[in-house]
Symmetry: C2
């Protein structure tokens, strides 16, 4: 099963530093040529399932424009150029929620989209999280930090209060590791 060969790659839309759309001319293994295959380049990001000593998980309730309504997500954000993914996860947890955690582990790194690419998401799990400073994310959203029991997260997943693919995935990954 041969990989595709990229014959040409051209940036057709650019919104630095967030997004770049590439249009590629590719050769398939069967000899066909596709003139306009699109790849989407986003920055890699980290998403964090951080648990306090008393077994509550830190989440954020906010309006997200991609969803069009208020919903619950895990804290997280893009990994800066040259930044270690774990360091980015620590930074984002602190900036968004004010919490710092002692133990960390990478649960999974995967590609966001099979066809378009879209960079990688790094799912982290953290333990013994404690309030450390006031949140100051610098994000566009007004956020409410909430600490929820795992049963409440499962209920939020089933009710649609959790509405986005990556937060669903991290909730399931953490449940599977319970």
């Amino acid at each position: 099963m041969e990989p595709w060969r990229v014959l040409e790659s051209r940036c057709v839309y650019d919104a630095p530093p967030w997004m770049e759309i590439l249009r590629q001319k590719v050769a398939l293994p069967d000899g066909r040529i596709v003139e306009d295959y699109h790849l989407v380049q986003w920055r890699d990001y980290a998403l964090i399932h951080a648990e306090t000593k008393d077994g509550r998980v830190i989440m954020i309730r906010h309006y997200k424009h991609g969803v069009g309504r208020v919903n619950l997500t895990f804290p997280g954000g893009t990994i800066h150029e040259g930044e270690d993914p774990l360091e980015a996860a620590r930074r984002e947890l602190l900036e968004e929620t004010g919490f710092a955690a002692k133990e960390w582990r990478l649960l999974l790194k995967c590609v966001v989209h099979a066809n378009y690419g879209c960079g990688n998401v790094h799912f982290f799990q953290a333990f013994e999280a404690e309030p450390s400073q006031s949140p100051a994310s610098g994000d566009l959203e007004q956020i409410e930090v909430v600490c929820l029991r795992r049963t409440a997260i499962q209920a939020a997943r089933e009710s649609g209060e959790i509405a986005t693919l990556d937060t669903v995935t991290l909730a399931l990954l953490a449940e599977a590791r319970q």
Copy 2:
């Protein structure tokens, strides 16, 4: 927690019927104006966890250009204009794998990306899948249909042979429902 108000919305890149990039001018609840918030519009799609009578799950091994290597995914594809999501799931399973299944249920519908939107993914679970016709997906990829035990899927998830967010999620959703 107020939603953002869209003051202007302009298509800045269009690759019909696959993708449309919108640049919006939005008003945040705190009065700030953001001139260049991007939304990505992809078509909704279905992904299918279909199990045969003897407890094997139908997957596809193929080169995916967004990943850049051969990997395992569940069958699935975009929902056509006006098509019911369940009908799309039945059609994609049949076209890609040649299997038809008796019992179907929607496990979850969620938004692909919290910031960019990117449409919805509909995760289906199907039972009593049987070979019904020869696969003929019309997709660009050369595909190999494989029927795997759930334990093999879990191993593929942990080894990275499953490499993409949506297939990880559906594997976890099905494990949680076991």
